[in-house]
Symmetry: C2
């Protein structure tokens, strides 16, 4: 999928919602407790309930790896289910990978050839050769960590370099030369909305993946005000606020309600801007 | 395992060799071609052939994930095999993970509870809360990327901050306060030997995991000269140079030869210093 195809989906659904499929196998809703394939069944129910309100799904690999050996199978079947039933959805493997060149190329094949996701999140610490192998796949995306939503983003990302530029700003300026607006996005936490204006000066046209609305305290209105561009340019992620809206029999319906609420707010922002 | 136990193993074997179990499923030696469980059988043969010369094994997750759904099972069985048959070995999951706090805690459980490795490599970009969850496990280690062996380490790791400190130096100074010498190591590439003297001023007592000897061009003598401390303080990794010494019937014997060569060099360095 390229940038204009993603924008078309956003317009069609009046939504830039990404649903984080971060199911904790130890925290399953009542009807799935004891089900041997609970996490896959949970994901399927959540996807079916929310797909009309979302343009993207983002499973975080940590939640699958924590299940042990079977975790990757649940991840793979979840991706396959979305791909088959909702082919318009943009699937992001939130994996935060990055290694030396030949090893990053193995990761790229793992996610793009074996799993067929659209995008993988990457940590930029090791520089160009840790990211570029992901840019060699037609229609696939590297989503590079820029300024994350967690408090300790300040430890390194916000440090000032000689000359006054901050580390995350240099990451944006350097890495935007590695690919294009059709294969590179950036992670910018919603808790960092005050930085979005500045970020838009550096990467005016790139898509931003914005986690941290809801559970982590970020504001959707602020993110849109300072982060949107003429082709939206945003995917805003919500995980716990949607998938864990209820742990009762109505978990899927309640997830749909929460996704719809966010989609309505997004629609208002899109149409009033 | 704590630092003094690791040092005891190094003394006992006169070796600080870590063998990188980075088997490419598409590059199997002749006797294993066509074997449905080739990578596990390969790992088992390599471990059996090299364990007497090594104190540590380091499977890189990229090579397992690239195999698709079955990869994590091969990884898990490899860890289990080493743990059971060579319990003295220090097992490092080279995964380069890192995420917001609650998600990093999931990764920590994945590697320490589900897989029972001794250590996980971590990318420091997201700061303290991406690393600290790994330090909550008694006897387990976080191996933090400091200065990596790849050419593009210069993109961000070597940038100068205001005041003249470089990014990787700040990573060392900040992160050494998060844990102790008994649960924190650093990755420093062998290609960066010129920086080792400087690194030892910042972290004199910590263990360093040093990849890049051999295929990537680093020198063992230089690494030892500038990187060793009074309790060795080094694990030097070799992957391709050992595991792919031969692709013929003699692959395990040739791997043993290469491991022994490195162990002998290491023994000389230890005993002549």
């Amino acid at each position: 999928m390229n940038k204009s195809q993603l924008y078309k989906e956003i317009v069609k659904k009046s939504s830039f919602l990404c649903v984080g499929l971060d199911a904790d196998s130890k925290k399953m809703p009542k009807p799935l407790v004891g089900n041997a394939d609970a996490v896959f069944e949970f994901n399927r129910a959540i996807v079916d309930a929310t797909a009309q309100y979302a343009v993207s799904y983002k499973p975080n690999l940590a939640f699958y790896e924590e299940m042990g050996e079977c975790g990757w199978s649940v991840f793979a079947r979840t991706v396959e289910y979305i791909r088959k039933n909702y082919p318009e959805q943009f699937i992001i493997a939130d994996a935060k990978r990055g290694d030396i060149g030949n090893t990053s190329a193995m990761y790229a094949r793992a996610f793009f050839d074996e799993m067929d996701v659209d995008a993988v999140t990457l940590a930029p610490y090791m520089g160009a050769d840790s990211v570029k192998p992901f840019l060699d796949f037609e229609g696939k995306w590297a989503v590079i960590l820029a300024l994350t939503s967690n408090p300790s983003a300040a430890d390194f990302e916000l440090l000032k370099l000689e000359g006054g530029e901050r580390v995350y700003e240099r990451v944006l300026r350097t890495s935007k030369e590695w690919g294009s607006e059709d294969n590179t996005m950036y992670v910018v936490g919603a808790t960092q909305a005050v930085e979005l204006e500045n970020i838009r000066k550096i990467v005016p046209g790139h898509f931003l993946l914005v986690p941290g609305v809801g559970a982590q305290g970020g504001s959707l209105e602020e993110v849109y005000k300072y982060g949107a561009n003429s082709e939206c340019g945003l995917l805003v992620n919500s995980s716990r606020g949607i998938i864990y809206a209820s742990l009762d029999d109505d978990f899927a319906a309640k997830a749909a309600d929460e996704a719809q609420k966010l989609q309505r707010q997004m629609s208002m922002l899109i149409h009033n801007s």
